[in-house]
């Protein structure tokens, strides 16, 4: 027992969480006592007795779980072994539940955890659609409904879409650039373990007195500053999710800049690497703004500051400015890694080099720069300074240009390509191009001030966001998961079930979100549990398609679980792809490579005679025999 307490792990983690929570409560009690305030006053003061432990307990858990052990030893000047690999790699499933520094283990931890939250958030979507199937209140109360759609959005955005990309990239990016691991493996593990804590905080808000946070995922002040306790769970969960994604982004940037294999110049990097480079730039420079905004809301709620209180000399609109200065770049954080995945999948399965490779990379950088200049297009009706409207409209429309470049480059890649659709990944990639283009065009419509004013806060917005986030980001996530599933698990998924999942998802997405455009144009308001009877038929149709969409995800779940356990062995390179991660076994060896590969050409030279991307170890120029690609041992 004593040994179990000393050993980093779940027991010590739980103990650390308890101790830290007790410390947090004690701190509040002592500080209130010193200041002469009533000790147990809760509701009027924003529950400091809950909020402070909510900060300390997760930190205590992380410390107990072993996230800081090495650093503390280092900081205290104790002997440390930098080349200690005892926490690296997974021998059994239990190693996935430990503090593990292997980027491949962390990648799988990320993807599995985020998909858990995807299914929880999806269940909430089903409840929302069930309530909306008919006008009037049937299943949930109005306030619960508000909590449901807020939590649905927050789970999907902060603990599914953003981190699942980090997970996929965690797995494949170091392999792609020929690195043995990420630059900071321990920081990588810490960033992962902050994520489930954030997700649990969001879900745990349902237990708070007053219910889950219900001010939408945007949490606009003053709605959020006056909301019940659940809102503080949101404020703090965002801090943990944000810290996690900043640390990961920093890790990606340092890995990409300092750890590329010899010969891997910037213009030879696969576009997924470019995509993660630009996404990480966005995360590092934008995420602190949402951290700042949520801190200020928390201070207003708990400390009684006046940041957003009109009566106290605060500025209400400033919340939206600060929030959207992060959250508009955030939509590209949720999209750019997907662009990278699509480039990989399309080029591989069309057997053609990417059309306009350099322009593709530059378009990513263009989006990064422009995305900082468009934030106020979310605020056309918010009462901000009216002179800001037209400049923001221009920049918003301008950002369609680099995005359009990418769309046309994918089409150029497909043009006269030998398009293979035997992989579900390619089906999702092709469907992504169409669906995302529609979502992008409705985005251009929304960028125009008069149309935006007409459809603000209607289902047109809901339709747009789901077309770009579900038909866009989630399609690319599915493409990525199917594409790298053989690499990650060493097994093939069931292609038939993949097809069922694909067609069901496509039908469900279009059936659900296309009609939302019409009802939105007709003025059905979003974020309300009841609506006018005239929208009843459309909503019933939408709900039916939504249930189809939901049911199809169960097929995906079944396919992934069963194939992971029982699927046929996959070769090292089932898609005959060029990039380095496919030149090693599936799953890759514990340290990725015996020797760092040498890069000698571009990553997409499909169909170019004699072209080669990388020379792997044991495959020197003088060796004429090609290395067998099927190394199926796990």
């Amino acid at each position: 027992m004593v040994a179990a307490i000393k050993q980093p792990g779940w027991i010590r983690g739980a103990l650390g969480a308890l101790l830290a929570a007790a410390f947090g409560v004690g701190l509040v009690v002592i500080l209130r006592d010193i200041s002469g305030l009533p000790i147990w006053q809760t509701e009027q003061t924003g529950y400091p007795h809950v909020v402070v432990p909510l900060i300390t307990a997760p930190l205590g858990f992380l410390a107990g779980f072993g996230c800081f052990d090495y650093w503390l030893r280092w900081a205290a000047g104790m002997p440390t072994i930098p080349e200690d690999h005892s926490q690296h790699g997974a021998k059994s499933w239990k190693d996935y539940f430990r503090f593990n520094t292997d980027h491949k283990v962390i990648g799988i931890q990320y993807v599995v955890t985020t998909f858990c939250f995807f299914f929880i958030g999806g269940l909430m979507a089903m409840m929302i659609r069930a309530e909306l199937a008919q006008p009037g209140a049937q299943i949930v109360e109005a306030s619960t409904f508000n909590g449901l759609f807020s939590t649905h959005a927050v789970l999907m955005i902060f603990v599914f879409v953003i981190p699942v990309f980090a997970g996929l990239a965690n797995y494949v990016l170091p392999l792609m650039i020929g690195a043995p691991d990420m630059a900071f493996p321990r920081l990588n593990a810490l960033s992962f373990w902050m994520l489930p804590l954030a997700g649990l905080m969001f879900i745990g808000s349902f237990l708070a007195p007053g219910g889950a946070f219900d001010a939408g995922w945007t949490g606009y002040a003053p709605l959020s500053t006056g909301a019940p306790l659940g809102q503080s769970f949101f404020n703090l969960g965002v801090q943990f999710a944000g810290a996690s994604s900043i640390a990961t982004a920093l890790n990606f940037l340092v890995t990409i800049i300092t750890m590329r294999a010899p010969g891997m110049t910037f213009w030879r990097m696969p576009l997924l690497v470019w995509a993660n480079l630009s996404t990480s730039l966005l995360v590092v420079a934008a995420t602190p703004f949402i951290a700042g905004a949520q801190f200020m809301v928390l201070f207003d709620r708990v400390l009684g500051t006046q940041f957003f209180q009109f009566a106290g000399g605060g500025d209400v609109i400033s919340y939206q400015h600060i929030f959207w200065f992060y959250s508009h770049p955030a939509v590209y954080i949720m999209m750019l890694p997907g662009f990278g995945i699509i480039s990989e999948v399309i080029s591989t399965h069309a057997r053609k080099p990417i059309f306009g490779y350099r322009l593709m990379a530059l378009a990513l950088i263009g989006i990064v720069v422009l995305s900082y200049t468009v934030w106020a297009h979310h605020m056309f009706v918010a009462g901000m300074s009216s002179w800001l409207r037209v400049p923001m409209m221009f920049t918003t429309l301008l950002i369609a240009v680099p995005t359009g470049i990418k769309i046309f480059s994918w089409l150029g890649t497909l043009y006269f390509g030998k398009i293979h659709t035997y992989s579900t990944a390619m089906l999702f990639a092709l469907a992504f191009i169409v669906t995302f283009t529609i979502g992008g065009i409705s985005g251009v419509m929304l960028g125009m001030v008069p149309i935006d004013i007409h459809v603000s806060d209607t289902y047109f917005i809901v339709a747009h966001i789901h077309f770009v986030l579900f038909g866009g980001s989630v399609f690319t996530i599915f493409a990525g998961v199917y594409h790298w599933f053989p690499k990650m698990t060493g097994r093939m998924y069931d292609e038939k079930l993949g097809r069922v999942h694909f067609w069901g998802t496509l039908l469900g997405t279009w059936g659900t979100f296309i009609p939302m455009h019409w009802v939105g144009m007709d003025g059905m308001p979003r974020r309300v549990s009841d609506y006018a009877v005239q929208f009843g038929d459309w909503n019933l149709l939408i709900s039916c398609f939504a249930f189809i969409l939901g049911a199809c995800q169960l097929v995906f779940l079944y396919n992934m679980i069963v194939s992971w356990r029982f699927g046929p062995r996959a070769g090292g390179n089932p898609w005959r792809a060029n990039s380095i991660e496919w030149q090693v076994s599936s799953p890759p060896p514990i340290f990725n490579f015996d020797e760092i590969p040498r890069v000698v050409g571009g990553p997409y030279e499909y169909g170019v005679p004699g072209a080669k991307h990388a020379i792997m170890s044991g495959e020197g120029a003088e060796v004429s025999q090609p290395q067998p690609t099927t190394v199926g041992s796990s």
């Binding site: 900081a75 690195a179 300092t258 010899p262 700042g292 400033s318």
Partner: protein, 208 residues
């Protein structure tokens, strides 16, 4: 095999069980680049609070700033600024000392820096106690405590990092080789950032 061996620096013939050494594809080392990127992120966090400052002062535009009964102790904070700025020189002295393998200078520089930083923090807390308004007093009070408090938190983190470096210095770590004193250099870069950021905060909050 042979060609790859050259690139690897000749390790291939030994049986090794650890990972292959990563190829260093940039002149900058990981830790230094990491702290620079972290500082970018920190600047943006300050940016969020400066944005709020801009709105509360320029957009809301209260008739006087600071609002009528309140006053800011510009002179005391000025002395405090001088204390913090001088600590930038002492940390630089510590780093230069270890570069020349002067261990006494390293320890002296680190301890001095730590003491100067702690003095800064102590004076700032004193200022909070005696300043006569709280974070609840108007947008002005909120953003004053927001900006200076955020900065104070950064000084605290900086002191924590410096403590680590100091403990290690006294336990005989660090050396003149570039890679052997990253544990001083990296917290040092962060400390310089904290200093420069204070000059900006001081200028914006106290002087302008």
């Amino acid at each position: 095999m042979e060609s790859a061996t050259v690139a690897m620096g000749g390790h291939a013939h030994e049986e090794h069980h650890g990972p292959p050494e990563a190829h260093q594809s940039s002149r900058i080392d990981r830790q230094t680049l990491g702290i620079f990127l972290f500082i970018v992120s920190e600047i943006m966090l300050f940016g969020a609070f400066f944005a709020s400052y801009f709105f509360l002062r320029v957009v809301v535009d209260p008739p006087t700033w600071p609002p009528e009964p309140f006053e800011l102790p510009v002179a005391i904070a000025g002395v405090n600024t001088a204390i913090l700025v001088s600590s930038s020189f002492t940390i630089h002295y510590a780093l230069e000392s270890i570069r020349r393998n002067n261990r006494t200078g390293l320890k002296l520089g680190l301890v001095l820096t730590w003491l100067l930083g702690a003095t800064f923090l102590f004076i700032q807390i004193n200022e909070y106690v005696n300043i006569g308004f709280s974070a609840r007093d108007l947008g002005f009070g909120s953003i004053f405590y927001g900006l200076t408090g955020l900065h104070g938190a950064h000084v605290f983190i900086g002191l924590l990092l410096l403590s680590f470096a100091t403990i290690r210095a006294f336990r005989g770590h660090f050396g003149p080789e570039e890679k052997d004193h990253l544990g001083v250099e990296v917290p040092g870069i962060y400390w310089h950032f904290v200093d420069v950021m204070w000059i900006i905060v001081y200028t914006a909050v106290y002087i302008l």
